[in-house]
Symmetry: C2
Subunit: 290 residues, 2 copies
DNA sequence: CCAGACAATTGACAGAGGCATATATCTGAC
DNA sequence: GTCAGATATATGCCTCTGTCAATTGTCTGG
């Protein structure tokens, strides 16, 4: 009753009944739940039929029937994939987009209702992020994105806020050597964001320089996603990108107030080197040859 | 994508698919999921058919059929309720108890698996408690229990630990006037535990004295259950119990390091009075006439 | 060009669950 | 005591959900 296992089981029971109620609330638009879920998946950008199936965990037979019923309603149209005529691609029609927005509004109202019904709003959100990250760890996608995108800027904002909390003297980005966005775009460098579903939960930048090496900057993993090995995955992806770009030497700077970062670098083939810049914040410097 | 609403929706999606996987793991014992859920509900102590239906949120028709199929398997037997022949009561047979333990073992293994797969174990458990409490706030039951029961002692342990964290000088229960268990049993007093499913999430003691008043002691609400109005519910229940016991005057002591408690008392009809005991910890004293 | 792999579809079927109705029982008003 | 209405469970009928196997058309490597 008080042990961890029963706490997990209590959570499972609570969520099982809540999710049941949640699902059925999608009704009321005169459409079975399955069809509504497919419509939403398409609206959220899944176009490949196989991709939708995978996302929703549906059987191929069921998927096929649901898609057919949406077509009959005139909400969706499917065409053959341009490269492979076996595969089919689904797209919303005008009426489909209208229905999709109606579902979106419904979902949003529902989520807002949940938030306003409960106190401890920030704690609740943090708990939800943590659990969602743990449950979807297999599905975290690393996407190269523009460093000025909404997702990237969100990550950087969280990163700066965390440095501010962890450095004794705080952190003021204008005093640091803030990398120029153009140095973190191909072909000079890149910027990678870890997305768990729709939430950015980590990032890393590869910044090209004119000094014969590239720098790794802004490695950040959301608190809710720590312990999932995401930092290492981000670093691996960056090294692969650097390799593709023909970069042979990587450098980075960090601070001893971030011990988990130093630990990561030391165990993944980086060697400590003397200070190579005049940024006031870092006190540890590393290099790795690919 | 970064706003609270989409964080809630991300959580919903993550949990929807996880719960699906969880549920289907109950298959493999050659029994449809619905029947397994009913068997488990009965095993967990639900006996009244209506109670099971309510707990699992099932339609009465479906419930009836599931129960019938469990009877046909010889796992369950039903009899008419002794006071009301319309109602039926379900009980596990010997074979039913065996099946139930098999499901219990499966659930436990699964929950353990979840815990070992993930880092941040304590953070994850705390997050699960918080969300489970928020989702089941309508179902929190206040049960009078013996102050020496496992549930009561768990609550008291958490309560002392929290005082230790919040009082500058710490908290040592042996220095405080620890109420005797026998003063918190009927007819001198009582002890009430708030249960959310199987987890104790709050408590309060009513301690009888020989001085013409009773004292309210050990009011505690788990961090995961704050903001749900549980403190007030516990106080109301205690006042009702005191009224039943013919107690006309209540007193309590508290500490200004627990501002939310003082706030609760002040807004629910308690008046501050001078110190009435020599306990070293409290610095605020209240009285309420019923 | 052909065999095997692969994507989508189709048919058959069982479980999940809603809804209206039937049956037995209880409760309160008369 | 009787009767109307409420309540608890059971039954029939239907749709939706989801699985499995077989089929059709398409792609890929040898």
């Amino acid at each position: 009753m008080l042990d961890p296992v029963s706490r997990v089981r209590r959570f499972n029971r609570a969520v099982t009944s809540a999710v049941g109620a949640l699902d059925t609330s999608f009704l009321g638009r005169g459409r079975p739940l399955g069809a509504a879920r497919v419509l939403n998946a398409i609206g959220h950008g899944c176009s490949d039929v196989a991709e939708i199936r995978d996302y929703l965990g549906l059987d191929s037979g069921l998927m096929s029937r649901l898609l057919r019923s949406l077509e009959d309603e005139g909400l969706v149209e499917t065409t053959a994939h341009e490269d492979d005529a076996r595969r089919r691609v689904a797209r919303l029609t005008r009426a489909g987009r209208r229905e999709f927005s109606a579902y979106e509004a419904l979902s949003n109202t529902q989520a807002e209702g949940f938030l306003t019904r409960h106190a401890q709003r920030e704690a609740l959100l943090a708990a939800m992020d943590l659990i969602a990250s743990a449950l979807t760890r297999e599905r975290i996608a690393l996407d190269e994105m523009d460093p000025r995108s909404d997702e990237s800027r969100y990550c950087l904002g969280e990163y700066y806020a965390e440095l501010g909390r962890r450095f004794k003297q705080g952190f003021d980005v204008s005093l640091s050597r803030d990398p120029d966005a153009k140095d973190m775009r191909r072909p000079r460098g890149t910027f990678i964001v870890a997305m768990s579903d729709t939430l950015p939960i980590g990032c890393v930048g590869l910044k090209g320089t004119n000094h014969g090496y590239a720098e790794i900057k802004r490695l950040w993993v959301a608190p809710s996603a720590r312990g999932l090995g995401l930092g290492r995955r981000l670093m691996d992806a960056t090294e692969r990108a650097a390799h593709e770009l023909g970069i042979a030497v990587l450098r980075l700077d960090t601070n001893s107030a971030l011990p988990e970062a130093g630990q990561l670098y030391r165990t993944t083939g980086w060697s400590e080197i003397p200070r190579f810049n005049d940024d006031p914040y870092p006190d540890l410097f590393f290099e790795k040859r690919l």
